[in-house]
């Protein structure tokens, strides 16, 4: 009987105390959710983080940035050229660290231009000493499509949501075939080139901004290839457009000491069936492997 008296006492005291605390928490929570009191803007805004200091001299800290090629879309292993290059470099005895892959399917220069102003992206860029950039394919091969669809989608592309995360107009991964089918009708050299001046100007500002964010890093820009070379009607206009794009990019890159253009045009030309994935737009595993070999040669 004594024992049960003791149990009853402790149970009742603890449970009443717990109930009171939980009730107080409940009232506080309801009040806080229904009438939230916003903070004064936080004072602890992130400081400009300095470039990575500690770490060996020859250590490679890689960040990838850009579109679906940076992400590795089309590679069944999911590695893409980024991880393949990392693997090759580390198998050669280098200390390699992949700090992040910020490739986003369907990303265009306009979207990327906004995105590199985000704190998180800048932070990652500052940690790196090797920056792999792949951008422009969506501008070139979808830019013509956007131009034809009228200003609506274009406005959307250029004014992303506050957080800058709208992934661009109809930025569907793996819809290379979709782009292709609309392209079949109107994809001419002129249409492709229409988007070029603006887009390459944006590429220039992106490259300069990255160099500004992290002056110590070396930027490797991955040149474009022509994914439509296997369609007879598109071979010549595609080649022309891609070449003018690559030339424009080369023109910008040559003006900076810490940038390199890694060409890929020749890797795919006339070998599309072997190195493109089933969407006829993105490289497959072997294609990415060839791209990564180029990158390794440039970085090494």
């Amino acid at each position: 009987m004594n024992e049960s008296k003791w149990t009853w006492r402790s149970v009742s005291v603890i449970s009443i105390a717990a109930t009171l605390i939980l009730m107080a928490g409940f009232i506080y929570a309801v009040n806080d959710i229904i009438n939230p009191v916003p903070d004064a803007p936080l004072t602890s805004l992130p400081k400009q983080t300095p470039a990575f200091k500690d770490g060996a001299e020859d250590e490679l800290r890689i960040v990838a940035l850009g579109d679906s090629l940076a992400k590795g879309t089309g590679d069944n292993t999911g590695n893409g050229f980024v991880k393949r290059a990392v693997t090759t470099l580390s198998s050669e005895g280098r200390t390699v660290e992949l700090m992040g892959n910020m490739g986003i399917n369907g990303q265009t220069t306009a979207v990327l231009q906004n995105r590199i102003n985000e704190e998180g992206v800048q932070y990652a860029l500052r940690q790196a000493n090797v920056i792999l950039l792949s951008i422009g394919g969506n501008d070139l091969f979808r830019g013509s499509e956007i131009a034809q669809n009228g200003g609506g989608t274009k406005g959307q592309a250029e004014a992303p949501a506050p957080a800058g995360e709208t992934a661009g107009p109809a930025s569907t991964p793996g819809t290379g075939s979709g782009a292709e089918s609309t392209g079949d009708e109107e994809l001419s050299a002129e249409a492709l080139l229409a988007a070029l001046p603006e887009a390459s100007a944006r590429l220039g500002s992106i490259l300069e901004r990255i160099a500004e964010i992290n002056p110590q890093a070396h930027i490797y820009y991955i040149g474009l290839y022509n994914p439509f070379g296997d369609i007879p009607d598109l071979l010549v206009p595609g080649n022309q457009a891609v070449t003018s794009w690559n030339n424009a990019a080369m023109d910008i890159i040559n003006r900076h000491g810490n940038m390199t253009l890694v060409p890929t045009f020749d890797l795919f030309n006339r070998h599309l069936d072997k190195y493109l994935s089933s969407d006829h737009f993105h490289p497959n595993g072997d294609g990415y492997q060839r791209m990564s070999e180029r990158i390794v040669q440039a970085v090494r």
Partner: protein, 329 residues
């Protein structure tokens, strides 16, 4: 006139003697270490991958979500969810606060967020479901009612004892998960700021009311909301145990309702009338964390009202039935 207090005391002792509460503690002591271990493995892996730099990890998380936004294969509702998630992560990143700072407190917070709509209600059911039906199964209900005590007093004492144990269960869930996860992650982290006050409009987040609260305060609020959910679940399970003859049937009824709730929240956002069901409204802590409600148009006040109505109706039905019904056997 017999005082209610001895009756409540009697009921509490019965719950303890039946060892229901120990079973609950045992379940917690077995399951929480498992969850903690799983969580630790995840944390370890991402630490290796991201050079133990949470900013890189969060940025990668943002990128991954942005990538899935582009996919046509992902339903629009999920995209809305991810858009909101990305904006919140971005907010944490912009304010240089690690949303997943690994600590015992963080683990407890996340664990409770995940367990509010199913795990904790199940624990509550373990006590609530056999309070009345158990007495009928064993036949002891006749002894109870032959005493010179009004029936409503018997039921009221049972209900009070149940509510006492609801608080104990919520409290011990917090304590066990904090104490166990602290072994792995450390016992610190009470003052880490957590953002709350994200207001969701469609698929964008209104950040104007966002404010930081220390984690202990956040957990206090969380505890309060979980307590409310638990009380409502307890009252409903209590009603079922009054209505149904056997404990097994009573457990099955409640379990089916709860599991239907998890399924509905995952798939029925098109069927808007479902928001009047109690089991869809159990995720109250989501309003605190700023996760979008399962069905559009649900707000905290709405969910509280729905739950309160269900709870009140359950109490009324329990008393009406228990005081009127013939006890046959």
């Amino acid at each position: 006139m017999i005082n209610l207090l001895p009756l409540i005391r009697n009921e509490c002792l019965k719950i303890i003697k039946k060892k229901r509460f120990y079973v609950i503690l045992l379940i917690l002591l077995i399951l929480v270490p498992m969850f903690t271990y799983a969580q630790m493995k995840v944390a370890e892996r991402s630490q290796n991958k991201f050079n133990s730099d949470w900013r890189l990890e969060v940025q990668q998380q943002i990128t991954d979500n942005q990538n899935s936004l582009g996919s046509d294969r992902i339903p629009e509702e999920w995209k809305a969810y991810r858009r909101i998630f990305v904006q919140q992560l971005q907010y944490y990143l912009d304010h240089d606060v690690n949303p997943n700072e690994p600590s015992g407190v963080t683990f407890t917070r996340e664990f409770l967020d995940n367990s509010v709509s199913l795990f904790i209600p199940l624990l509550i059911m373990a006590v609530a479901s056999d309070l009345v039906s158990g007495e009928r199964t064993t036949g002891t209900i006749k002894m109870l009612l032959t005493r010179p005590v009004k029936r409503w007093k018997v039921l009221f004492s049972k209900m009070t004892a149940l509510l006492m144990f609801v608080s104990l269960i919520v409290l011990s869930t917090f304590l066990v998960s904090y104490l166990v996860s602290g072994l792995f992650f450390g016992y610190k982290g009470f003052n880490v700021p957590i953002f709350t006050g994200f207001q969701i409009n469609g698929d964008s987040v209104d950040m104007t009311a966002v404010h930081a609260v220390p984690q202990w305060k956040y957990m206090l609020m969380q505890g309060g909301l979980i307590w409310f959910v638990s009380v409502v679940v307890a009252l409903l399970a209590f009603m079922v145990s009054v209505l149904v003859r056997s404990t097994a049937a009573s457990i099955v009824v409640m379990m089916a309702a709860l599991i239907a709730g998890t399924i509905l929240t995952n798939m029925a956002s098109a069927w808007t009338t479902a928001k009047y069901l109690f089991m869809v409204n159990l995720g109250l802590t989501g309003y605190l964390a700023g996760t979008p409600a399962p069905i559009e148009g649900m707000t905290l006040s709405f969910s509280l009202a729905v739950l309160a109505v269900w709870g009140a109706v359950a109490v009324i039905i329990s008393f009406a039935v228990f005081t009127k019904r013939d006890i046959l056997n």
